[in-house]
Point group: C2
Chain length 345, copies 2
Amino acid sequence: MTDTAPRPTLEAVAARAGVSRATVSRVVNGGDGVRERLAERVRKAVDELGYVPNQAARSLVTRRHDAIAVVVAEPEARVFADPFFARQLRGISKELTAHDNQLVLLLTEGRDDHARVGRYLAGGHVDGALVFSLHLDDPLPKLIRSAGIPAVFGGRPDWNGDQRGVLYVDVDNRGGARDAVRHLAGLGRSRIAHITGALDQTSAVDRLDGYRDVMVDADPRLIVESDFTPAGGERAMRELLARRPDVDAVFAANDLTAAGALRVLRESGRRVPDDVAVVGFDDILPVAEQTEPPLTTVRQDIEEMGRLMARLLLRELDPRAAEERVGGTPSSVVLPTTLVRRASA
Amino acid sequence: MTDTAPRPTLEAVAARAGVSRATVSRVVNGGDGVRERLAERVRKAVDELGYVPNQAARSLVTRRHDAIAVVVAEPEARVFADPFFARQLRGISKELTAHDNQLVLLLTEGRDDHARVGRYLAGGHVDGALVFSLHLDDPLPKLIRSAGIPAVFGGRPDWNGDQRGVLYVDVDNRGGARDAVRHLAGLGRSRIAHITGALDQTSAVDRLDGYRDVMVDADPRLIVESDFTPAGGERAMRELLARRPDVDAVFAANDLTAAGALRVLRESGRRVPDDVAVVGFDDILPVAEQTEPPLTTVRQDIEEMGRLMARLLLRELDPRAAEERVGGTPSSVVLPTTLVRRASA
């Protein structure tokens, strides 16, 4: 709206209530030492005038904004196209709302915008940050460190750098991948391929490591690099069929990739699981239930990951909780996975 | 991270560059009057220390945060489930990024959280707000007015209240609805039903008015109230078949509702369009192309709506643009619609 009504001032409230500015300030900021009769008059004047306390000024005192930034290190279009992020945000949103903290989602068009995100984080607008889907060499962790606010990462953020004091919530990607490949081997499959995720992310590297733990001397042609997207899964499956037409099983790095692979297998006339068995990762619904055939996959509790990230950060921000930590630092969390059997393997 | 490195100060930069605090401040804030050789030294020190200027302090001077809030007056789960919002956000994100403004999406679990959103908007964290999917009696417009920041609404915000100075971008909902119903009548259908949207939103009311413009003496049983969701569309279609089994056409208030209605029609053994013709609204892809059969619908350019909302708000915030407005106020925009014919009608 253009004719924004002039915002009522502290002075206006004081005048209406017939008290001093200092009295209004004490009441508004929840301070003590004001007689109830006066406090009542101030609250009435605040209501009548629609006075909104200046949070910026107030937060200079309390140093809390009751707002938490969420940064997904992916372009906005990907955030909305991949149900993984929606699920994680659901967990975060529920936890933050339960603690009356505002979820501030900072969207970008890509990595070029991360410096601007860093400026916003440093600008005194939020108390902390929840960051996920980091890629190798992303400047975000350094920007967040410079911003001087605490952060919790979704997924182990950086496998070579200094890990001290970095808090994250991750899932046992390597163990889950081992379960998937062992399941395929248990079905009698021997030419088990792996379509990887984006290998500049630790989750993809860990899942590849899990595959290699079981397939110690796999033909390198059975490993095709991809990017966690359905279109990437289609491309990888075509490449795989060209390299090794005799492939009899595929472990895909996530369900979206598996869905793309299933489409290409169907086009090529192969039956799933009879000719080629397929296992995904995530158990993203409804995707995993609606593929043709429904997908056997490694389940991780994505919403719970989001909730835990938020909980860990709120604990960091609560000085009382900090005191309760007897000489220790709060620690990162790695959640277990479970194999969910459907029809594809 | 817990051991956040101490944030480098202006003083540290001054010491490293061997200049005064004031010189650093002038260079960092883009001011003039510093010799290039000195400015170069300051910039080098800024880089080496990873100094981030204090935006909070800076914005007290410039009064700009280069950040725009987006508020969708729907629970977080709905924002991610309905592709309409993703599309609108895409337009907003592109426009804001092109002007190096940070998109700050404020998510909530529901209307109970709108007071907290109002506090964030009033807290000096953003320059303005883009608000969409308002419902009747939502406290948000009033909270935004109290926050004293300019806003642009997606969709006409309130049909009874004072409209002066309220900026919005809308689509010709009534005209689009008329086109849809006239198209069905042109196919020779006479028992044309309407499944409404959520009638506490102006878009739904306008589409119902457009239906009534053409069906001036429609049997009231042909109008079933719904809520813009696929599940709502299914319920409404069942109700409609119970009330008027002879219905021969349906105009659904949006594509998601139409998709739900199509499922129920198929279950009931009716052929579309032979027995019942169906028209939607939005032209949300891929939904409208993937229904069975593909959906005839009223197209609105949702991404363009988002872009225009952002553009209108940035113009409000640019004092130069404000000067260029010769005695007038920037005005709200109503975009046209077009009927897209596919197989369902």
